[in-house]
């Protein structure tokens, strides 16, 4: 018959895993265990039970079996839960190297349609094109270039990831503050404002502004 196969003690480096048949009744498991007891009562004395396999046990069944293992077999029961091998140690992740965005000629670009009103903020790890104005109080933070088909009156930060080759262009360049990479500048205080499109870029560690087109 194969009563022996209904319950097996599997030995591992860490201890004994109790393997059981999941299809038969619990009573049959107990019967099989008793048969095992007759032949190998002392064989497993002192061995550690580290878990079970192959059968879902309810708490009552767990404690019945645990009692038999410890009292009859003299085993040390540390767990009656389904055995789960410990996770392999996670490979240490090296800190990712932050590369400044380098798609200034050809790269990921976000298009924003409409005017950015005060309070809005657009952040993107690439170039940003705004088809509208950037009002004072609004900001665009791009890792790449910024192009504005309208008036730039808010804050624009190009090359936000550290690439100082990024540029900012606008039909009316009148930002409250302009940043490229880690450099910051603002509009000159004289009134009037620009009359033609302008581009801002970094040269010799300064932000230069000149007419464009």
């Amino acid at each position: 018959m194969g009563l022996n196969n209904l319950i097996e003690f599997k030995g591992t480096k860490k201890g004994i895993i109790i393997q059981m048949d999941g299809d038969v009744s619990f009573a049959q498991i107990i019967e099989a265990l008793n048969v095992k007891l007759e032949t190998s009562r002392n064989f497993f004395k002192g061995a550690k039970v580290i878990g079970t396999e192959g059968r879902n046990l309810v708490v009552k069944e767990e404690s019945i079996l645990a009692e038999i293992f410890s009292k009859e077999f003299g085993m040390l029961v540390t767990s009656m839960k389904p055995y789960a091998p410990p996770k392999r140690e996670e490979q240490k992740k090296t800190a990712p190297v932050v590369k400044a965005f380098d798609g200034l000629e050809e790269g990921l670009t976000k298009f924003v349609r409409g005017t950015l009103r005060s309070g809005r903020s657009v952040e993107f790890e690439g170039n940003v094109v705004v088809l509208g104005d950037i009002n004072p109080g609004a900001e665009v933070i791009a890792h790449g270039n910024i192009a504005v088909f309208g008036s730039l009156r808010g804050v624009a930060h190009a090359g936000a990831g550290g690439n100082e080759s990024a540029w900012v262009v606008a039909q009316r360049l009148q930002p409250t503050q302009l940043r490229i990479g880690s450099l910051i500048t603002r509009s000159p205080d004289e009134d009037g404002g620009p009359t033609s499109p302008e581009i801002a870029y970094v040269k010799d560690k300064h932000i230069m502004i000149e007419p464009y087109l």
Partner: protein
């Protein structure tokens, strides 16, 4: 079915309450059934400006808490036939009402009135959210000052995000003499940044101070230029096309004399 219009600005002190009172009174004068709601709970002013302060028994918080029926809280203005006020509470604050309650309230009032005008408090927090909750359209009030325009821009962004599209602009307290000197923003500068349609321009007028203190809306004063401007705005709300007042003609007496002697530019 009436319309719910919220009068908002972001910035405080630009004239929302004055506008609400005058537009409400103006619309009533044109024969409409109007209710003006003060949504500035804790800092109520609409009742004072309308001169109805000492007739308040119940307020908006009583209504949403069902301490009284809506009709009991509405105060009928005896000077303007068809004008009612739903006052705010003074002893509570803006957490006493929720946006959902405001929606229900304005929906109820829409059934029985042609226009429901909501006076929005300053700011962008709970009070603002309450006031815009049930609105069909929005009117943004600003003065020709850079700080007011900044705040108006923010508010317009929030209105658009709340799907109250196409808000209209009222420029309040403009002083043409200062604009001519270049000391004050002109209308084009403002519409350039704000990019919404202009609904009205109200010149700075001493009469507003006088009328507020008396509790008499300026629209009732035939000689007040601000009253005329508010009346024009009320007409535009009903869909009537009213040309913008030529403020040049409102030169003071002294200016007229100067012009006579060609001393002014």
């Amino acid at each position: 079915m009436g319309e719910v219009i919220v009068i908002t600005s972001g910035k405080g002190g630009v004239g929302k309450t004055t506008t609400t009172a005058n537009i409400g009174a103006g619309l009533a004068k044109l024969g409409n059934k109007v209710v003006v709601i003060d949504a500035d709970i804790g800092l109520r002013n609409l009742d004072v400006v309308l001169g109805l302060e000492n007739r308040i028994v119940y307020d908006i918080v009583d209504v949403v808490n069902e301490t009284c029926r809506l009709k009991q809280a509405l105060i009928k203005d005896k000077r303007f036939d068809g004008l009612y006020l739903l006052p705010a509470a003074q002893t509570k604050d803006k957490d006493a009402v929720s946006p959902e309650q405001m929606v229900k309230l304005t929906n109820d009032l829409k059934e029985t009135h042609d226009y429901v005008i909501v006076d929005c408090p300053a700011g962008i927090e709970r009070g603002f959210r309450n006031a815009i909750a049930g609105a069909d359209r929005a009117v943004v009030v600003t003065t020709p000052e850079i700080s007011a325009v900044r705040d108006a821009d923010r508010i317009i962004g929030l209105l658009e995000a709340a799907e109250l599209n196409d808000p209209r602009l009222i420029v309040n307290r403009i002083r043409l003499d200062m604009v001519k000197r270049g000391d004050m923003m002109n209308i084009e500068d403002m519409t350039d940044i704000l990019a919404i349609d202009l609904m009205g321009v109200v010149p700075d007028d001493e009469h507003v101070v006088i009328s507020t203190n008396r509790g008499e809306p300026a629209v009732n004063n035939e000689t007040a230029i601000s009253g005329q401007a508010f009346m024009d705005i009320a007409k535009r709300i009903t869909g009537e096309e009213v040309p913008f007042m030529d403020l040049e003609q409102q030169d003071g007496f002294f200016d007229k004399i100067m012009k006579l002697f060609s001393f002014s530019k």
